[in-house]
Structure formats: structure tokens, C-alpha cells
Amino acid sequence: MNKYFKIYKIFMANSFSYEAQYRGDTWIKMFFNIIWLASMFLTVEVVFRHTSALAGWDKGEIYLMTLFWILADELAMMIFGANLPQLPDTITDGKLDIYLTKPMSALFAISTKIFLVRSLYRFIMEIIILAAVIWKFDFAFNLLYVFFSILLGLAGIFVLYSFTLMLNTLAFWLHRIDNVNVAISVLTSLGKYPVEVLPRTMRILAFTAIPIAFTAYIPVAALTGRSSWHGILYALVFAGLFFWGAVKFWNFALKRYSSASS
């Protein structure tokens, strides 16, 4: 374990040094991020021009859900978002050999090699916006709910990681499916809306095969006191099992790797 901490520290140091070379680019992307956030909030505003509640959620709660989704997405981007999307090309081009011959877990290296520093800056900015939203809508949260919400948010990151890993692992069979990451991004972005608006079949999918409910809906439901204890338990167990399943699937798929280059 200690070895992996040391390796991760090196990965982070490399990432910070890389980022320092492209400071201008970081600021440009930060600017675009603000516009992107504005477009998210505009969507909420447009919807609430025509209603006072969406499937039982008021405007402040929908803002919370949007921000939770943004934060989860940013954390995911920071930790593995620049790494896993490279997997299909790495497999197809036979570059996986480089990772397999290293004296550490190939999955660890592939998932964490690049720490996206600019996401860290954005994450800090988004936390400030979250604080502003909590202040503006005058939320008062129960501390226990806050604890469960953070715990479930972290579980949501595990679900997101597992979902991304599983779909990228399909590249062992399908090759050249790097665009699957655009699909993942589009699908998971649906998680910033309350699942109650969806019909029953899609709601079931949101809690199982296409787990879009875990990054924002479930944590915010816990934060606003809407979750039952068995709902919280389900989310935590699902996150653990889904992660376990994704790693198993990766190990299974790895046996198919024929190495195009060597």
C-alpha cells in the first residue's frame, strides 16, 4: 500500500509540473468552465420559469443536485478522467504492454497516471459556488445527513469509476471505441435531474445497469432527508459490488489481450 502512495505522489508531482507549462491553457479552460456552469444554471432557470417544483424538488434542491453532479464529475475528471478514456486506444494500438511489464498493478497505473490539476482548481471554485447556493437558498442541514451525503457522494465516484472502466474494457473486444467516453459523459450528465421524472423502467436502469442516480440524486436525497436507511445501505453495497465487478471484468478481459505491437 505504501508503495502505491509513493507512486501516486510521483504521478501527482509529474501532473503539477506538466500543468505549470500550460498555465494559459488552464485559465482559458477555467473561463469556458464558468460559461459551462452558467449554461447548467440557465437550464434550471428555464425549467423553473414554468413551474415551482420539479417532481417534488424545489429550485434550490435542483441547484444542489446540479452542483453535486458537477462536483462528482470534477472529482472523477481529476482522478481518472484523463486516464481511462485512453484505454481503448492503448488496447487497440498494443501500448498496454508498457503497463503490464511494470512492477505494479496495471489497472492502478492506467487509472491514475494523470492527475488533472486544472480540475482541482475548478473543484475549489465549484465548492465556493455550492457554498453560495446553500447560503442563497437558506438551507439548514442535519449533520448526520451531511455525513451520509458525503459518504454516498464518494460511493457515487466509485460507481462512476466502475461504469467508466467496464465500458472502456469492452475495447478488448470492440477496439477503437474511444467515443464510448463521450457516451458515458452524456449518459452520466442525466444524473443531475431527479429520477422521479423518469418512467419506471428507466428509473430501474438508473439504479442498476446505467447507474446515473448515484453521483447526485442519491447524495442529495440523503442530504435533504429523503433517503431511508435501506436506500443508503443499497447505494453503499451497490457501489462496492459494482466496483468489485468492474475489476473482475477487467481481469477477465485482460486475458484476451494479444498485444498488437509485440
Binding site: F32, I35, S39, V46, H175
Partner: protein
């Protein structure tokens, strides 16, 4: 766009025959079909980003029958048609062009007896043949499954006008993709530019919601930009929400934007080639 194509056709100076274009289409089709999973994933992506909106709006409607002139069936149809447009009239070529420029693959195309842009137009059109087939199948499935939520145009004229507006929408979408792709001549990495244009498009094209649902200031800005002719204008034609004057004005603006963007793209291409370093030569 049409002028741009004609210009390129003239550059071929009559040597290029229709059989050549047919062969080009067949070659690209074979290439796209050899990566079927990619095509399916793009199709899912094009549809998925709007799939939740009909449900959100149905929830907003509640007991209301009409919001801003849109009935419940109108709003569901609106998003289904956006999905249809995404599959049939939205281009995705910018990343291919960016890679051609950054990795030097453009060198190979420049030595061929056909203009590069012709190669890429047929690349995109052949891809659209596949996605249009997917769109038609999905359209029929939705129509048969939920006839009450997918309104069909009452007249043949509406269908015709809708398809004409789709051609215009595709031309504008394609020129935007060229602008992003040619950006690689100067910036190399164009993801920020791509993200920016996509954002503008999402807000001002009517993808999030019909533009009439937005505050008036956003509607006024949208009227000054070309993005509404990608989505909002064709869907409004489909839903029969426009009178004759509005349709004529819409097509006029669509043509003006097509021409202006095509000229801009042409200038970008000429200037870009001058600064192209030809990696790998």
C-alpha cells in the same frame, strides 16, 4: 456550403466524375462499417443527451395542457425531432480534421488528385447515410409505440420544407465542424474551441428547450446567431408553428449564414495551409 462544394467541384476541373464520388462514398461507408461499435455509440450519444428532457417537461406540464403554445405532444415531438436531427443533420468531422493536421495525415491528402475537403465531405455524408438509416428505424419505432406523442406533419409541403431546412442545418453544422477542425492549423489542440462552440450551440440552438421558453434576452441573442437554424428552425417547421413569412425569413437567414460561414471556412483553409507545417514530411 453549396457554393463551397461547387467551388471545389470546379477546382476538379471536370476530371472528377460522378463515379469517383460514388466510389469514394462506398469506400468511406465500408470504413465506417468496419467500426460498427463506434457508429452505434455515436448514435446513442446523439440521442442520449436529450432523452431526459421530454420527461422533465412532462413533469413540468403536470395538469397544464399548453405552455407558450406548445402542447404536451408538441414538446415530446420537439425532442424526438432534435434526436432525429442529431442523427441526420449534425456533423462530427472536426476531430478527424484536427488529427489530420496535427499528425500530418493531411500531407497524404494534399498529394491526391482530389481536394481534401471533398474527401472529408464524402467521409461525413457516407457516415450520415448510416446514421440516417438508424434515425429512420428509431423514428418508426417511436411512432408505432407512442403515436400520441409523435406528431406527424399534416402536409407534404411541411415535410418538404422540413427536409430543406435539414439540408441547411447540416451545411451550417458541417461548416462549424470545419472551423473547429481548421483551428488546429494555429492552436493544435482545439478541444476548448470545440467545447465553446458546442456550449453556444446547446444554449442558442434550442437543444435545452424551445427558444420561446427562454427569457426574451436569450431569444434576442439567439436571433442574431446561426445556431437556431441548426435545431429550432427545422423543428418549428416540422411542428407547423411558423407562418409563410417566418418560413421565408428563416430560409433566407439560413442561406445567408451558410454563405457567410462557407466564405469564412474557405479563408481559414487558405490561410491555414500557408501556416501548415506538414508534420512527418
Amino acid at each position: 456550403m453549396l457554393c463551397f462544394l461547387l467551388l471545389k467541384f470546379r477546382q476538379g476541373r471536370g476530371k472528377i466524375h460522378s463515379i469517383m464520388y460514388l466510389q469514394l462514398t462506398k469506400t468511406w461507408l465500408q470504413r465506417h462499417l468496419s467500426y460498427r461499435a463506434r457508429v452505434v455509440i455515436w448514435a446513442v450519444t446523439d440521442i442520449a443527451h436529450i432523452i431526459i428532457f421530454p420527461f422533465i417537461w412532462l413533469s413540468v406540464y403536470g395538469q397544464q395542457q399548453i405552455i407558450q403554445g406548445y402542447s404536451r405532444a408538441d414538446i415530446v415531438t420537439y425532442y424526438i425531432i432534435i434526436g432525429f436531427i442529431g442523427l441526420t443533420a449534425t456533423a462530427h468531422i472536426s476531430n478527424v480534421i484536427r488529427l489530420d493536421i496535427m499528425e500530418g495525415a493531411l500531407n497524404g491528402f494534399l498529394t491526391k488528385p482530389l481536394p481534401y475537403n471533398i474527401f472529408r465531405i464524402f467521409h461525413e455524408l457516407s457516415y450520415k447515410i448510416i446514421t440516417a438509416a438508424i434515425a429512420l428505424v428509431l423514428f418508426l419505432i417511436v411512432r408505432l409505440s407512442f403515436p400520441e406523442y409523435l406528431i406527424m406533419p399534416a402536409t407534404l409541403t411541411t415535410w418538404l420544407l422540413f427536409f430543406l431546412s435539414l439540408i441547411g442545418a447540416f451545411a451550417i453544422s458541417y461548416t462549424f465542424e470545419l472551423i473547429i477542425g481548421f483551428g488546429a492549423f494555429w492552436f493544435g489542440e482545439t478541444s476548448a474551441l470545440n467545447q465553446f462552440i458546442n456550449l453556444l450551440q446547446m444554449v442558442f440552438s434550442g437543444t435545452i428547450a424551445p427558444l420561446i421558453f427562454f427569457p426574451s434576452i436569450i431569444q434576442q441573442v439567439a436571433n442574431l446567431l446561426p445556431f437556431k437554424y441548426l435545431i429550432y428552425f427545422p423543428v418549428e417547421i416540422y411542428l407547423n408553428h411558423l407562418n409563410a413569412g417566418e418560413i421565408i425569413a428563416g430560409f433566407t437567414y439560413q442561406l445567408i449564414w451558410m454563405g457567410a460561414l462557407a466564405l469564412f471556412v474557405f479563408a481559414l483553409w487558405r490561410r491555414g495551409l500557408k501556416s501548415y507545417e506538414g508534420v512527418g514530411i
